[in-house]
């Protein structure tokens, strides 16, 4: 039996105490223990960016991160991005307006990366956006509508 450990972290503003196996991945704990299936598991090896969440304000690939390594961290997933009243935050709204969503499977990771960029740079250029989301793969949109959506949030 794998060694288990109690970890405490905040997810989307809520404190959680979870007993996890020492090799449990953050993506699986979020999806299976906390029911936050908005975070996607696709390649499992950090190649596609579908599992991206914010850990202490920085984007992180939750399929490469052990749950025990985020003890005490503050995590934001796609489910925690909307405003407290449940309304869309600007990147989400821009994705709707620009139809930057097709199958939607990369959308959580893309929206998180867009938010992260805008947190650091309030008015990113097209090439800065392309550079920032280069590790997040999308097979439906060809990225162009996603870049337009993120750009429209710039001030």
């Amino acid at each position: 039996m794998m060694k288990r450990k109690m970890v405490n972290f905040k997810v989307n503003g809520e404190l959680h105490e979870v007993l996890v196996e020492s090799n449990a991945l953050l993506v699986n704990v979020l999806r299976e223990e906390l029911g936050l299936t908005g975070t996607k598991y696709s390649c499992g090896t950090g190649q596609c960016g579908s599992c991206t969440v914010l850990v202490n304000g920085k984007p992180a690939l939750s399929c490469l991160m052990l749950a025990v390594a985020v003890d005490g961290a503050d995590i934001v997933t796609i489910e925690g991005l909307a405003k407290p009243d449940g309304s869309l935050e600007p990147v989400q709204e821009a994705f709707l307006d620009h139809s930057a969503i097709q199958c939607g499977f990369c959308t959580p990771g893309m929206v998180i990366m867009g938010r992260d960029l805008l947190n650091k740079n309030s008015n990113p250029s097209e090439s800065e956006i392309q550079e920032h989301i280069k590790g997040t793969l999308c097979r439906c949109t060809g990225y162009t509508s996603i870049v337009r959506a993120i750009k429209s949030c710039g001030k």
Binding site: C48, F95, I101, G104, R139, G142
Partner: protein, 771 residues
């Protein structure tokens, strides 16, 4: 502002909802992360399934010992071919109409012989994924490796290693004959002859194959799965030896498909494991497994010989096409037929000879991928057109303009095009949209531009007698329910049905609820493949909604004592067209209809045109309902030192008939263009003796955000499509002609043509050195 939004500003048609750039009804859940995809579903007591896959591409299975795996605590089932009630199934074509001649055998689990590396050999279900994985390692398979054959040209030769059990590896061949092609070459002043090669392409959808199955309260095997074809429920029932109606398939929102979720993926495995264990089972492929286990876009060898007169008129085309089907038949015969009919492209050529073959090898099997055999031949015939232009000293546009098919003209297969043909219009507009040519930024940089045109069918082959059904119902408060068995790939398949119902019944989009993809509860609508759903299910929904509208207007006409023709439905009211202030609330008319027993629902069936099989000796006849015509244009730069191609401008110009939702159409044009750009420049499933050397997304490269530029979408709306409101299909046509446009641009920049995709820097540097 997007092009669609600009267009909206000048929107003048009488439609309220059709033609509007709307966020799709499913987009909200997706952007909140609430959509429950196949792998997001959990059931109490759920087991985890895993598949043991062949390590060899060609081998005999001497024995399989599962005893150690069965003993592992937590393992609930281990199954091999002998445990499957009907392990051999026949690939059938057409849900409604059987077409003989091209049945392909495939097996649920390998029996005696494996035919490609990654073929499923055994199944496991266990309490956890980790235990299931461990159990796979405990299954002992004794293989006797065989020689195998990995090149379709070798496999086609008499005496070649036999991939399957039949006498020949050649699955089928087709011919097109139009007059005597040698006469055509005798009349030609210039003849170009080249051989082209295209690689296997992986769909690389971001969501790997996945599903959950359980047995419901009534004993029905229920499978909730990411699929483009819920109607595989029949094949699953036959595997288990059950009546068709004892298997129910519920399609989830699909995390990308592109044809890769058209064949059965996890369904049969899930059904077997849940049947054996009587517990819910989940099975999700890893990325590596996905690349090993699903069919690819067919690799082709294509020999082309094209002749023209000195003034640029095409006289003759001869083509030989050989496709690599891989280990099993799957959809190879049909993909080949699309290539064969499409081999001459959108050109009027008096003398034609096409011979085509699809051949089994021990490579990963090939099957459907967006474009279905058409992008391959488009790469070849559009490269040929530019080679001819060069020889004749004509521009690529000029030579094409002398030869484009027009309305009223016949294709090489004798099919007369009876609707608007958007040539040379799409080519002229695509080229014009490139604007001024860019200047090189360094001496090593060469700039080039290219165009390529294509015609791609939408709707299934007419001898399959395709049908679709849709239910539309009104509730007492004026809200509308649509039930339709479409699978939603993320292309807006279900949202467009909501738009159609909203338009006809004069209610806002928020009042429409669409239920999709459930073989038990939604009328069956056929596959989400062949660019057919808007055409087929759009028309079925339109027909059903119009029937209800007729009932409502007849009743309102009685109340108002006017003729029904003088009335319309708008904003949840019945309005008198000539006196728009004279209205009755929709809910009042609904209440009266309900009380009088007048139906407020309708289930409609739409039938595509039905035709008989073509003449296979000559290829003459009709294969497709209609085509979408288009042209891609590209401007690129090549670094002659590194061989790196950089895309500067891309244009996609297609006649879409009518854009039901312009944002969705733009999305298809952008996504298809970039998928085709990947095909042109980087995507290549590399196999060595059947072993995939590109098993993950770090070896199999697809375009990232850094590889793309904003695409100029020039959407033409002829209104002459067979779909609702004159729409055509765009899902597949959007990918057809981009690769040859890029290749022609590279040739324009360097004066060197490369005959095999993808155009990697290595190939370009090698070609430059050679010249």
């Amino acid at each position: 502002m997007s092009d669609a939004q600009k267009k909206e500003k000048s929107f003048q048609s009488g439609h309220k909802i059709i033609g509007k750039p709307l966020a799709r009804h499913d987009a909200w859940d997706k952007v909140f992360g609430k959509t429950v995809y196949a792998d997001d579903y959990f059931l109490p007591g759920m087991l985890y399934g895993k598949v043991l896959r062949s390590e060899y591409a060609a081998a005999n299975i001497l024995s399989i010992d599962t005893s150690e795996a069965e003993k592992l605590p937590g393992v609930k089932a281990v199954m091999t071919a002998k445990d499957v009630p009907n392990n051999e199934t026949i690939t059938r074509f057409g849900q409604t109409h059987s077409v003989g001649g091209f049945e392909g055998l495939y097996r649920i689990l390998a029996y005696k012989k494996v035919r490609f590396r990654g073929e499923a050999v055994a199944l496991v279900a266990a309490e956890t994924e980790v235990i299931a994985q461990k159990a796979l390692k405990l299954i002992k398979v004794d293989y006797k490796p065989l020689l195998g054959v990995f090149n379709p040209i070798e496999a086609k030769k008499p005496g070649a290693y036999k991939v399957g059990e039949s006498e020949s590896n050649v699955i089928c061949s087709y011919k097109v004959r139009k007059d005597d092609v040698e006469k055509g070459f005798a009349l030609s002043d210039v003849i170009v002859e080249n051989t082209y090669r295209v690689p296997a392409q992986d769909h690389a959808y971001i969501e790997p194959e996945s599903g959950v199955a359980w047995i419901d309260d009534d004993g029905v095997i229920t499978i909730r799965v990411s699929t483009q074809v819920i109607e595989h429920f029949r094949e699953v029932a036959e595997v288990l030896g059950l009546p068709h109606n004892r298997v129910r398939v519920i399609g989830t929102m699909i995390g990308g498909g592109f044809g890769g979720k058209e064949d059965i993926t996890v369904e049969s495995y899930l059904a077997l494991l849940t049947w054996k264990t009587k517990r819910p089972v989940k099975l999700t492929y890893t990325r590596e497994e996905s690349i090993l286990a699903h069919g690819k876009r067919h690799p082709y060898f294509m020999k082309y010989r094209t002749g023209a007169t000195n003034d640029g008129k095409l006289m003759a085309l001869e083509a030989e096409l050989i496709s690599d089907a891989g280990g099993y038949v799957y959809l190879s015969p049909w993909v080949l037929l699309y290539s064969t009919v499409g081999a001459t492209g959108p050109y009027d050529i008096p003398y034609v000879k096409v011979d085509s073959y699809t051949v089994l090898t021990n490579n990963t099997f090939s099957s459907a991928m967006r474009g279905f055999g058409v992008p391959q031949v488009c790469f070849a015939y559009e490269s040929q057109m530019d080679e001819l232009a060069l020889r004749l000293n004509l521009s690529p546009l000029e030579v094409r303009k002398k030869n484009y098919l027009k309305k009223g003209k016949a294709m090489a297969t004798g099919r007369v095009l009876d609707r608007y043909v958007a040539f040379p219009e799409t080519a002229e507009k695509a080229l014009a949209a490139l604007g001024e040519q860019s200047k090189p930024k360094s001496p090593a940089e060469k700039i080039g531009r290219g165009i390529a045109s294509g015609m791609t069918s939408y709707g299934r082959m007419v001898f399959l007698h395709d049908t679709s059904r849709s239910y539309v119902g009104l509730d007492m408060d004026g809200s509308v329910t649509v039930r339709c068995g479409v699978q939603d790939l993320g292309g807006g398949q279900s949202s467009s049905l909501a738009q159609i119902a909203a338009e006809v019944l004069g209610v806002p989009m928020k009042d429409i609820k669409v239920y999709i993809a459930d073989t038990a509860l939604t009328p069956l609508a056929g596959t989400t493949t062949a660019t057919r759903q808007l055409y087929m299910s759009g028309n079925a929904t339109l027909k059903a909604a119009k029937e209800i509208k007729k009932n409502l207007l007849n009743k309102a006409a009685d109340i108002l004592e006017v003729k029904p023709e003088s009335l319309d439905l708008q904003d949840k009211k019945v309005v008198v067209k000539e006196a728009p202030d004279q209205t009755i609330p929709l809910t009042d008319v609904i209440a009266t209809c309900a009380s009088d027993g007048i139906p407020l629902y309708n289930v409609a069936q739409f039938n595509a045109p039905f035709r008989e099989l073509i003449d296979f000796k000559t290829g003459q006849g009709q294969v497709f309902p209609d085509f979408t015509f288009g042209t891609h244009a590209a401007e690129i730069s090549v670094d002659v030192e590194t061989g790196k191609v950089k895309v500067l401008k891309l244009v996609a110009c297609l006649d879409v008939g009518k854009a039901i939702n312009p944002l969705s159409v733009e999305g298809q044009l952008e996504g298809g263009t970039i998928q085709g750009l990947g095909y042109a420049l980087m995507e290549d499933v590399v196999l060595k003796k059947g072993v995939t050397l590109t098993p993950s997304l770090s070896e199999y490269l697809i375009p990232t955000s850094l590889d793309v530029v904003d695409i100029d979408k020039v959407m033409l709306e002829s209104g002459d499509g067979l779909g609702p409101f004159g729409a055509k299909g765009v899902g597949e046509p959007s990918v057809t002609s981009i690769a040859p446009a890029v290749v022609n641009a590279v040739c324009d920049a360097l004066g060197i043509r490369i005959f095999d995709l993808p155009l990697t820097p290595e190939k370009i540097v090698k070609a430059l050195k050679k010249s």
